[in-house]
Subunit: 538 residues, 2 copies
């Protein structure tokens, strides 16, 4: 049979009124004036098709969210079948005759257009071209392999034994290699996977940036060692016992101040914190709690809140289109990292925060002042766990993963070699050695999700975040004062105005250029981190 | 394009070894000996198609579960689209050319068969025939209408105002009328809807049974009034304050004793308790808490546990087939009601229960004995809320709903007349009048789910339950002693052996005949309730 869904949204979204930021950069293209004129014969079928795909993806995301939060262990097998069924369906929509006919109309289109339509065409073709390259059997096999790898990762993590995970991870890697082959690449097979997360970025482009970051980070770290500065700051009080209800209370307070909207979102617990959304009006973040780690909960919640605000900030009219997403994974990470690493690590943030910690944990912070918290949360200490890393060494964690992924995807090493490579690189770059796999190569869920090529997004996110932070300091009046009184809403509004609401309509290149007037570069981050280290340690 | 899913389960389930109960009734058909011989050319495609439908239904059930438990309010619109998309997909599978070709092969099949295959054929054709009668547009519209009605029911319930709900409910009723017309019926349009829940049952068959129940219940009630027996039993202590954590603790203890499997299931909170499952290994029940109502939580949890045990007890090999379900809704209700109304209202149950209540609420039950609890939970008191009704008057609640549904579906009354009809019938049958709609016609979520024709299942469930209880008393050695020591597992095992594991393989008629040797009838219930009233009040 011909499979036709008569989804109601047969018309393009009405009333889209996305104005450019007033002080947009040189490359800014005016959009608002064109949107109302938008009229192209075949576009309604684009929107109908995108809506069909997005509805299934939304359902599939709920299956994944539930798997990480509430699903009982026995549910795995059925979940694997359900997820695979949905993955195959959304893929089938994109490879249907209808989708093909739309793609041809777009490619042959020569009429009047506008930026909004251009974006939709670009986003459509990107998804279409990707889908047609992947055989249906591959999609099904890959979906099943991931669901299984996630569960064996959980077991391996608990038992701290990579071998439990090795077979299922190998299967995922094998399929990722196959995927890269299907998708195609010019120089490096790994490029095909990086492109899934950060369009246009390649290993060749990353290596010079990553090299500069690696060298600079190691230089600063060595200087701190030489100057005997490491361990001069007291952060022991962060490791005392802070009952987790209090941590959750503080996190929820931060969520409110960051204006996360609980009418259109939730906060739950999961083993590995993450953010997902089923529409801009149903955005779910998770966090984790540990009584003896104040930082872990607070910073991971703030990280996910940053992602959540991005999702909630996307123009609602973009729901059920391929633009209802972040501009790229790197840009998405910039929105979590600017909060987690930059804003929540200012002295002003803790000027605000300490009064609340004192209320939540009476007595515990009597002799601790905002400056102590500021110093403590900025302590540089080469460590084993990426998501607990300080700002200076964080990129080294990423670069290690990037290097290992590059080797794996190019078949230079085999999966069983991961733990050794991991240990060696941690010793070389950070001077630390994981005592077991849970503190080593099992710490991240990403690979079990098949997210090879994702990790570089974190460092790209840090670079974007530093660029945005520099700009924000010029544009938001009394920024530091606003932070010191907990008025984080002004930052959220700025980010929403400049970044969030556009969703994926703009490419990350255009977006960062429009907002900051510069192309992606590492300078603002290096300036920022150098100054921060100076401020804290000297 | 032709829509083909290459789901892996292309082979029929292996190793099915479902033996008939040893002392099966006269109509019992031996199954086990035939199952291994099962071989029909076209059956693999039946299983593949059923698996496709069930995977989508499982995903759809998760969307519904989430909507009732954790979804933030803003998520509604997207959820409505997602649910509609899945409903249309599972429907499309059933009306596909592939499904049609299977149905034709089944109808023309003349080879060797067996009971297992006959059941699968019957279940397949039932779903297929139903699906082809419903136009795709209707399925989409109906799915959307339900999602919307559920939310306006929630609002109306909170604000105790039927008018908030009237319009959206009217839409659902209109669509149910249309559905009945599509499905077809002989005498009464309402029959088409009842058949969805209890195959073979009609208004004509129900009326004599319901009349006997109604008359008998009202007679007993009037006798109790005449004899001035009402309000002679003290149950005021049940309405004292019992902090809800304790209630939950007790409920979880009962769940464990009933051998509900939390590895393959969950217990959550929702406004209206319900049970759902995404496979026999992921069964979710919900309950509700109120500090001032000890009964509400305990009995509603036990009710849902009964449903949950049925789902968990279905033979695992039946997963992803149309047999992975209860024999009928009436049979499903029998499994919840036998626990809620019969077992949990025995003296022996409270002999066990009181020691635990004393531990959970120290001091509260010092002067209360098991006999007091036994009497209190069996108090007959005509009341407004169905799910809190006693065993005697419960059927009157159902008969009222049955009568109103019959009028609505046959267009004898309009939706706006529901509140008046409701009030009048409650006054007439039960002698009570709802002070507002929340205590009246808004108390049940069913209609917003489109579940017209469902309510009779509760009373059928009570009749089946009484029949099973009588049989169980003959077959389980020391049944009452086992209950008094909390050994509910023996009951669960008996029910699993006799009912659960077969899923939907057998019709309710065959099943009840096999287990009890009788056809559905009201005698055992009337005997049971008469004796119970005598025991408590005289």
């Amino acid at each position: 049979m011909v499979f036709v869904l008569t989804i109601s949204m047969m018309n393009p979204p009405a009333n889209i009124a996305i104005a450019k930021p007033k002080n947009a950069g040189a490359n800014a293209r005016p959009m608002s004036s064109l949107l109302n004129k938008y009229s192209v014969v075949n576009t309604p079928s684009i929107f109908a098709l995108m809506a069909k795909v997005k509805d299934i993806e939304g359902a599939s995301s709920l299956l994944a969210w539930d798997q990480e939060t509430y699903m009982p262990p026995g549910g795995l097998e059925a979940r694997s079948n359900q997820t695979a069924a949905l993955d195959v369906i959304s893929h089938s929509y994109l490879i249907s005759d209808e989708a093909k006919s739309i793609s041809e109309k777009i490619r042959n289109f020569s009429g009047y257009s506008n930026d909004f339509q251009d974006s939709m065409f670009r986003l459509y073709l990107r998804e279409y071209d990707k889908a047609v390259k992947l055989p249906e059997n591959f999609v099904l096999e890959y979906s099943r392999a991931k669901t299984i790898a996630i569960e064996s990762w959980k077991k391996a993590y608990k038992e701290s034994d990579f071998r439990i995970y090795e077979k299922d991870l190998s299967k995922v890697i094998e399929l990722k290699i196959q995927e890269a082959e299907y998708l195609g690449y010019e120089n490096n097979r790994y490029d095909a996977l990086i492109d899934l997360y950060e369009p246009g970025i390649t290993v060749q482009k990353l290596i010079p940036i990553f090299d500069k970051l690696k060298n600079k980070s190691i230089d600063i770290l060595n200087k701190l060692k030489e100057d005997e500065k490491l361990d001069t700051i007291n952060d022991a009080f962060l490791k005392k016992s802070y009952p987790s209800e209090g941590q959750l209370k503080f996190s929820k307070l931060v969520a409110d101040k960051m204006t996360f909207d609980f009418f259109n979102g939730r906060l739950d617990l999961s083993m590995h914190p993450f953010t997902t959304s089923f529409s801009t009006k149903d955005v779910r973040i998770t966090t984790r709690l540990s009584d003896n780690e104040l930082r872990s909960n607070i910073f991971s919640t703030i990280h996910e809140l940053g992602h959540g605000l991005y999702e909630q900030g996307i123009e609602q009219e973009l729901n059920r289109t391929f633009a209802a997403d972040g501009a790229s994974y790197g840009m998405h990470e910039s929105q979590s990292l600017i909060w987690e690493n930059i804003i929540a690590r200012t002295h002003e943030f803790w000027t605000w925060g300490i009064t609340h910690l004192r209320q939540i944990y009476p007595g515990s912070f009597n002799n601790i002042y905002s400056i102590d918290l500021y110093n403590a949360v900025n302590v540089v200490r080469p460590s084993l766990i990426r998501i607990e890393a300080d700002e200076l060494t964080y990129n080294l964690h990423i670069i290690i993963r990037f290097e290992i992924e590059n080797l794996l995807i190019n078949k230079k090493i085999k999966p069983y070699e991961i733990p050794d490579y991991w240990r060696n690189k941690y010793r070389e770059y950070l001077g630390v050695i994981p005592p077991n796999d849970t503190f080593g190569c099992l710490q991240d869920i990403h690979w079990s999700h098949g997210s090879f090529g994702y990790f570089p997004s974190y460092t790209l996110g840090k670079l974007y975040a530093a660029m945005l932070w520099a700009k924000m300091n010029q544009e938001i009046p009394n920024l530091h004062h606003e932070i010191s009184i907990g008025n984080f809403g002004v930052i959220r509004n700025w980010l929403k105005l400049k970044i969030h609401r556009f969703g994926k309509l703009e490419t990350p290149e255009d977006l960062i250029m429009d907002v900051t007037g510069s192309v992606l570069n590492e300078e603002p981050f290096i300036n920022y981190i150098t100054k921060k280290i100076q401020d804290i340690y000297y």
